[in-house]
C-alpha cells in the first residue's frame, strides 16, 4: 500500500525531448485547453511547445507537450505577457501559436505581434479581433449588415461623466442593465446592475477587473433581455471567404454569467428559426471578414426574437459538443486553416447527428455560492468511461489545484442518439465520476441531470435562480470522512467511547 502519491518534481527549465525538425506550434495557454490543443497538434504530426508559470509546474500539459518553456513566477501575468510568449516561440523554434481561450486569445495586440514577427497566429487577423473585440465597433458592423441587436451604449467616459451617462441610459431602458467590459468575453467582466447606487459602486470595480483581466479598462452598457436563452453558432471560415456554420449550441445554464453546461444543438423545436439564426451567423461572420473558427452569440427572448450579442474570435470552451454532433475536429481545422489550407468541407457536408451535453466540472462548492476550492489536492480521481463519453481535463490524483487560476478541472461531454439517451448517459457518467479532495460541481450537476425541467429541455438563463432545490444534496465524501473519524477513534482507543 502506498501512503503517498508520488509525482515528478519539475524544474524550471525547458524540457527538450527530441530534435526539432518538424513544424512546431506553441500552445499559449494552460489547463485542459492546452492539452486539447497539444493533442490536435500531435495528431497532425507536428510538435507542441507548452509554456507555464511556476504555479503550474506540476500541470499535465507540460508533460504531454514535446517541450515546455517556463515563462516566469506568474501568476497570470506571464501567460498574459506578449513579449515573453513571442520570445518562447522564437527560442523553441515554433512557427505558429495557438492561443486557446482566455489569456491572450482575443487580444489584438498579441495577434498583431505574431503577424509582425512572422509567427502564424491560429485565429482571425488582428484587425478582425480588434473590430469584433471592441463591442462598440462590432455593433456598428452588425447594424450595417442588418443583424438584429439589443440596445446598448458606446464606451463609458471616465469618471463622473461616464457614471452620469450610465444613469441616464438606465433611466431610458430601465433596470436591470448589463455593465460589460469592452474587451471582455466568455462571461468575464459582466455585471448585472439593478439600481443607481449599484451602478455607481460597480463601475470602478468593473473597470479594475477589466484592467486586470484584459489590460483594458473600458466598459459599456447593454439593456438586459429578461430570462433569455443563450444560443450560439459555431462558424468556420477559410482565407478565401468560404464560410460555413456547424450548427447551434445552447449555453443558457450559467451562474454569474459564466457558462456551466452547454448543449448541441439548441433544444428550440422551431427548426426554421434555428436555420435562420445559423444563416444570420454566417452573414455576421462575412460582414466582419471573418477567418478561422469563431462563435456568433445570440440571445433569444420569450417571444423567440433573437438578438446578436457578440462574436467570440477564438475556440470556445464548449466547442466539444459541436465536435461530437458534427464529427468535425474544430481545433485541427483551425490549425489547417491558419496554415493556409482551404476549408475541406462545404455547408452540405456538415451533418448533425444526435445530441451532446458538456458539463464543466469545476473545483467549486455550489452550496457556498460556487466558492472556489483552489489550493486543495485531488486525492481521488476516478473518471467515467464507456460509450459516448469524452473527457477534456488536466488534473490527476495527487495534483494540487493552483489557487491563482480558474477552477475548471475537466469538461465531461456526453453524446447520444436521442436527447433522452444523452441525459441518461450524462447521469450515469456523473454517478461514476469520483473526485475527492476539493468539492466539485458534480453532485450539483447530478441534481440537474435528474431535474424534470432539464430533462424536458425547459431552461433559460434564469434556470439556476428558479431551481434552488438543485443546491440540496449531501456531500457523501464528507460523510465518509466523518464516519471514518469515529472508526479512527474506535481503533485508537481500543473501544467505542460513545457506546460504552
Amino acid at each position: 500500500m502506498l501512503w503517498q502519491v508520488p509525482f515528478r518534481d519539475f524544474q524550471f527549465y525547458s524540457i527538450v525531448q527530441g530534435v526539432a525538425l518538424k513544424t512546431k506550434i506553441l500552445v499559449a495557454n494552460r489547463g485542459e485547453i492546452a492539452i486539447r490543443l497539444i493533442r490536435a497538434i500531435q495528431e497532425l504530426d507536428y510538435e507542441a511547445v507548452a509554456v507555464y508559470e511556476s504555479p503550474d509546474k506540476d500541470s499535465r500539459h507540460i508533460r504531454l507537450a514535446n517541450e515546455a518553456v517556463w515563462l516566469g513566477a506568474g501568476p497570470r501575468c506571464d501567460y498574459l505577457d506578449i513579449s515573453k510568449i513571442i520570445k518562447a516561440a522564437k527560442k523553441s523554434g515554433a512557427t505558429a501559436i495557438h492561443p486557446g481561450y482566455g489569456f491572450l486569445a482575443e487580444n489584438p495586440d498579441f495577434a498583431k505581434a505574431c503577424e509582425d514577427t512572422g509567427i502564424t497566429f491560429i485565429g482571425p487577423s488582428s484587425d478582425v479581433i480588434t473590430n469584433l473585440g471592441n463591442k462598440v465597433i462590432a455593433r456598428k458592423i452588425m447594424a450595417e449588415a442588418g443583424i438584429p441587436m439589443v440596445p446598448g451604449s458606446d464606451n463609458l467616459a471616465a469618471g463622473k461623466e461616464g457614471e452620469e451617462f450610465a444613469i441616464a441610459f438606465a433611466a431610458k431602458y430601465k433596470y436591470p442593465i448589463m455593465l460589460k467590459a469592452t474587451c471582455g468575453g466568455g462571461g468575464r467582466g459582466i455585471r448585472l446592475i439593478e439600481n443607481d447606487n449599484q451602478m455607481r459602486d460597480e463601475i470602478p470595480v468593473a473597470r479594475a477587473e477589466a484592467k486586470a483581466a484584459f489590460n483594458d479598462e473600458r466598459v459599456y452598457l447593454e439593456k438586459v433581455v429578461i430570462e433569455p436563452k443563450h444560443v450560439e453558432v459555431q462558424i468556420m471560415a477559410d482565407k478565401n471567404g468560404k464560410t460555413v456554420h456547424l450548427g447551434t449550441r445552447d449555453c443558457s445554464i450559467q451562474r454569474r454569467n459564466q457558462k456551466l453546461i452547454e448543449i448541441a444543438p439548441s433544444m428550440i423545436s422551431d427548426k426554421a428559426l434555428l436555420q435562420e439564426i445559423c444563416d444570420t451567423a454566417v452573414k455576421a461572420a462575412k460582414a466582419s471578414n471573418y477567418f478561422n473558427a469563431g462563435t456568433v452569440e445570440f440571445l433569444i427572448d420569450k417571444e423567440f426574437n433573437y438578438y446578436f450579442m457578440e462574436i467570440n474570435t477564438r475556440v470556445q470552451v464548449e466547442h466539444t459538443v459541436t465536435e461530437m454532433i458534427t464529427g468535425i475536429d474544430i481545433v485541427r481545422t483551425q490549425i489547417k486553416l491558419a496554415l493556409g489550407k482551404p476549408l475541406a468541407f462545404c455547408q452540405e457536408d456538415v451533418q448533425m447527428r444526435g445530441h451532446a451535453i458538456e458539463m464543466r466540472i469545476n473545483a467549486e462548492d455550489p452550496q457556498a455560492d460556487f466558492m472556489p476550492e483552489g489550493g486543495k489536492t485531488v486525492s481521488v480521481y476516478r473518471s467515467p468511461g464507456g460509450y459516448g463519453v469524452r473527457l477534456d481535463g488536466f488534473v490527476y490524483q495527487g495534483f494540487t489545484i493552483p489557487e491563482v487560476y480558474d477552477s475548471l478541472l475537466v469538461k465531461m461531454t456526453v453524446h447520444g442518439f436521442s436527447w433522452n439517451e444523452t441525459v441518461d448517459r450524462l447521469r450515469r457518467c456523473l454517478q461514476n465520476f469520483v473526485i475527492a479532495g476539493p468539492k466539485t460541481t458534480i453532485p450539483f450537476y447530478l441534481n440537474i441531470a435528474k431535474d424534470e425541467d432539464f430533462i424536458s429541455g425547459n431552461f433559460d438563463t434564469s434556470y439556476l435562480d428558479k431551481h434552488p432545490q438543485l443546491f440540496e444534496y449531501d456531500d457523501n465524501a464528507n460523510e465518509a470522512s466523518k464516519l471514518s473519524n469515529l472508526i479512527a477513534e474506535i481503533h485508537h482507543r481500543g473501544h467505542n467511547p460513545y457506546a460504552a
Binding site: 500500500m1 486586470a212 457556498a368 481521488v380 491563482v404 472508526i487 479512527a488 481503533h491
Partner: protein, 635 residues
C-alpha cells in the same frame, strides 16, 4: 385470517382480534435488547432483520420505548425518530409498538403535562401500539398518554402491572381493569405486564381467566420475561385461558432475562391445538438465521452472570433491570454481595415499602435502597431523593399499605409528619415553557431544531445536545455494523471495513498504521475510499478527539460582521480598501474588494457606523476569518 396491518384504526384492530381464530405474537425486540444486551442492539441489526420480521406476520414489533429512547442517543448514537423512519421504510405493514412509562414517559421522573402530550404526539407519528404502564398502577398517571394516543388515532394498550404476594389478588386486578376501561373506553388492548416473569403458569392462567370471564370481548396481551426459564409455561397458560396476544423474541438472540423464543412458543401451543394466527414460521426461522452471526459483536453487553434466575420469584427484579443491576454490581465491586442484596435485603425492602410493582422507576428505587442498605451500614440511612419522593407520594398513593413510620422518620426526618403534610401528594407539575426551551436549544446547537430534536431535548437535555453534536461531527453512524461500532481491541492493520452510508453510497476504509509523535499525539492513518486521511488524537483524551485548528466558518464571519467586525469570508487577496479610518459608512456600503480565482467581490458593511480600524492592506492574502476592518456604531 387477514393479518393486522399498520394504519388500521384502534376499533378495527380490536375487532380483528375479537374475530381471530388463533392467538397473535408481538416480537419484543426492544425488551430483548434491554434485558439481555443492555439495550445495545443496533439499528443496523434491526434493519438486517427487518425484511423477514415484516414477512413473519406479527401483531406488532416492540422496537422503541422503555430505556431505549435514552440509550439510542446516549450509547448507540442514533436518532430514535430516524430509527423508526428507516424501519418503517422496510416494514410498511407491521405495527410498531412502544413501552411508555405514563407520566414518566421514557425517563425516571414525572414530566409536565405539555411535555408528555408533545412527546406522545411526535412519537405517535411512527408508533401504532402504545403499551403504557404506571409502576404504582395509578391510572391518572397514564391519562394524558391515553388521550394523546387516541387523538392520534393509534391503539392504546394500558397495562396492569403484575406481581405476587398476598395483596395481589384477582379482585384487586379486576378493579384496576375496570378503572382503566372507565377512562379509555373499549377500543383498547389490555396488557398483563409481568415484567419480572413472576408467578407460576397456574397463577397467570387464573388471572387471565378471571379477566376473560368478566370481560369476554376485551383483547388481552400477556407480556412476560423468561428470567426463571419458565415464561413459555406462563404463555401457554395465558393462551389456554383466552389471551389474544403474547410476547416473545427471535431465538438466535434470546438470553436469560428477556422474552422466550418465538418458535418455542409456536411449537408448544400448536401441539395444544392453538394456532399462531397470521404467522409465517419460515420467516420467523429466517430472521434468527439472518442475525445469528451478529450476536458475537454484542458479547460485551451480555449478562455478566450466565444462567436463569429462578430466585427472581424472591427478589422480583424486572428482566429489563437485571443486566444493568449486575453491571452496577461488577463496576461497584459488590458482585459478591449480590446473594445478600437479591435474596435477603431486596425482598425485605420491597415488603417494607408497600409491596408495589418492581418496575421502572419503582424498581430502581427498591434496588438502590437495598444496595445502599447493604453497603452503607445503617438501613435507610442514606435515602435517595427518589425514595423521598416515593414516601411523599409524588409518584402516586401506595396501592396496599404505607411503610412503617420509622421509615418515614429515617427518610424525611424527625418532623416527617409536617414535611408530609406540607409537601406530600401527587405533584401538580406546572407546564414547561416549551418555546423558551426551544430558544435555549437553538442557542446550544446553533441552528433551528426540528420538533423531533426538541422532543429529545425535553426528555434528556444534556444528552440530546451531546448527541446532536456527535452527529454533526461523526455523521449518521447507524450505518456502521456492530463489528465496527462495537469493536474492541482495535482493527488489524490492512483490514478493510465496508459500509453503506445513509444515502446508499458504499464506502471502503482500509486501516493503516498509527504513529505516536514525540509529544504523545497519535496519528491514525485511514485510507477512506482510496484516499488517505489522517486523524489525530491528543495523548489525554479527556473529551474525544483533539480538535484540529480550523479557519472561521462563513456563519461565524457573518455573525461578526453584524457586530462591525468585518473579516474575510473566503481565502483571497485584498485588491482594494475603499474606506479610511474615521470614515462614516452605512449598511450596504462597499468597504473593500477581495479577489479569489479571478473573481472580484465587493465587501460591504453590515451596520451603520464609523470605520475605527483597518487591519488589512491591498495585496494581503487573507484566510477566512482574517481581519479586514472594524466599524463601530456612532454613539
Amino acid at each position: 385470517m387477514e393479518r393486522i396491518v399498520q394504519g388500521a384504526s384502534a376499533a378495527e384492530v380490536v375487532k380483528q382480534l375479537q374475530n381471530s381464530d388463533g392467538y397473535h405474537i408481538t416480537n419484543t425486540a426492544r425488551d430483548l435488547s434491554q434485558s439481555d444486551f443492555k439495550n445495545r442492539i443496533l439499528l443496523h441489526t434491526d434493519l438486517l432483520a427487518a425484511d423477514s420480521r415484516e414477512r413473519a406476520g406479527y401483531f406488532s414489533l416492540e422496537i422503541t420505548g422503555g430505556a431505549s429512547v435514552h440509550v439510542d442517543i446516549l450509547r448507540k448514537q442514533v436518532d430514535p425518530f430516524l430509527k423508526l423512519e428507516l424501519l418503517r421504510e422496510k416494514m410498511p405493514n407491521t405495527m410498531f409498538q412502544t413501552l411508555c412509562r405514563g407520566v414518566n414517559l421514557f425517563g425516571y421522573r414525572p414530566y409536565p403535562q405539555n411535555v408528555i402530550r408533545f412527546t406522545v404526539k411526535e412519537f405517535a407519528k411512527y408508533v401504532d401500539v402504545w403499551r403504557t404502564f404506571d409502576f404504582m398502577n395509578y391510572i391518572p398517571n397514564m391519562q394524558a398518554v391515553f388521550e394523546e394516543v387516541a387523538k392520534a388515532g393509534k391503539l392504546n394498550e394500558p397495562c396492569i402491572c403484575f406481581s405476587t404476594g398476598p395483596e395481589h389478588t384477582d379482585a384487586y386486578y379486576l378493579a384496576k381493569v375496570k378503572e382503566i376501561l372507565d377512562v379509555t373506553g373499549e377500543d383498547i388492548v389490555l396488557c398483563i405486564k409481568n415484567h419480572g416473569g413472576l408467578g407460576t403458569p397456574k397463577r397467570i392462567g387464573e388471572l387471565v381467566d378471571t379477566i376473560r370471564q368478566k370481560y369476554p370481548d376485551l383483547p388481552l396481551h400477556y407480556h412476560g420475561h423468561n428470567t426463571d426459564g419458565n415464561d413459555v409455561g406462563r404463555i401457554v397458560a395465558a393462551v389456554q385461558n383466552g389471551a389474544n396476544i403474547v410476547d416473545a423474541a427471535d431465538a438466535s438472540f434470546t438470553g436469560f432475562y428477556g422474552p422466550p423464543p418465538i418458535l418455542t412458543v409456536i411449537q408448544t401451543l400448536k401441539d395444544l391445538g392453538h394456532n399462531a394466527a397470521t404467522i409465517d414460521e419460515e420467516a420467523v426461522i429466517e430472521t434468527s438465521e439472518v442475525i445469528r452471526d451478529e450476536r458475537q459483536h454484542y458479547e460485551a453487553f451480555e449478562s455478566q452472570i450466565k444462567g436463569f434466575q429462578p430466585t427472581v420469584q424472591i427478589h422480583k427484579l424486572p428482566g429489563g433491570a437485571m443486566g444493568s443491576s449486575l453491571e452496577q454490581a461488577v463496576k461497584g465491586g459488590f458482585l459478591d454481595k449480590m446473594p445478600d442484596i437479591l435474596h435477603k435485603e431486596l425482598p425485605r425492602v420491597q415488603k417494607e415499602l408497600g409491596n408495589y410493582w418492581s418496575v421502572t422507576p419503582g424498581s430502581q428505587i427498591l434496588w438502590t435502597t437495598a444496595v445502599s442498605n447493604v453497603q452503607g451500614g445503617e438501613r435507610y440511612g442514606n435515602p435517595s431523593g427518589d425514595l423521598r419522593n416515593l414516601l411523599l407520594g409524588k409518584y402516586g398513593p401506595f396501592p396496599f399499605y404505607e411503610p412503617d413510620e420509622w421509615i418515614f422518620e429515617k427518610v424525611l426526618g424527625s418532623d416527617w409528619k409536617k414535611v408530609l403534610e406540607e409537601e406530600g401528594g401527587v405533584e401538580d407539575i406546572s407546564d414547561m415553557d416549551i418555546d423558551k426551551e426551544k430558544e435555549t436549544l437553538t442557542e446550544r446547537i446553533a441552528e433551528d431544531p426540528t420538533d423531533q430534536q426538541l422532543v429529545l431535548y425535553l426528555q434528556h437535555p444534556n444528552d440530546a445536545v451531546e448527541f446532536f453534536k456527535f452527529e454533526a461531527k461523526f455523521g449518521k453512524v447507524h450505518v456502521l455494523p456492530p463489528s465496527i461500532f462495537l469493536k474492541t481491541g482495535g482493527f488489524e492493520p490492512g483490514e478493510t471495513l465496508e459500509f453503506v452510508d445513509h444515502t446508499g453510497k458504499e464506502h471502503m476504509v482500509e486501516v493503516g498504521p498509527s504513529n505516536v509523535a514525540e509529544d504523545g499525539e497519535t496519528s491514525v492513518y485511514l485510507y477512506v475510499d482510496h484516499h488517505q486521511r489522517i486523524y489525530k488524537f491528543a495523548p489525554e483524551l479527556a473529551d474525544g478527539a483533539a480538535a484540529a485548528p480550523v479557519a472561521m466558518s462563513k456563519e461565524e464571519v457573518l455573525d461578526l460582521a453584524k457586530a462591525g467586525d468585518i473579516r474575510a469570508s473566503f481565502s483571497g487577496n485584498v485588491c482594494e480598501i475603499s474606506v479610511e479610518e474615521g470614515q462614516e459608512v452605512a449598511v450596504g456600503d462597499k468597504v473593500a474588494v477581495m479577489e479569489a480565482m479571478k473573481m472580484q467581490t465587493p465587501i460591504t458593511s453590515a451596520i451603520d457606523g464609523i470605520v475605527t480600524a483597518v487591519s488589512a492592506k491591498v495585496g494581503d492574502a487573507l484566510q477566512p476569518g482574517d481581519k479586514l476592518l472594524k466599524v463601530d456604531v456612532d454613539e
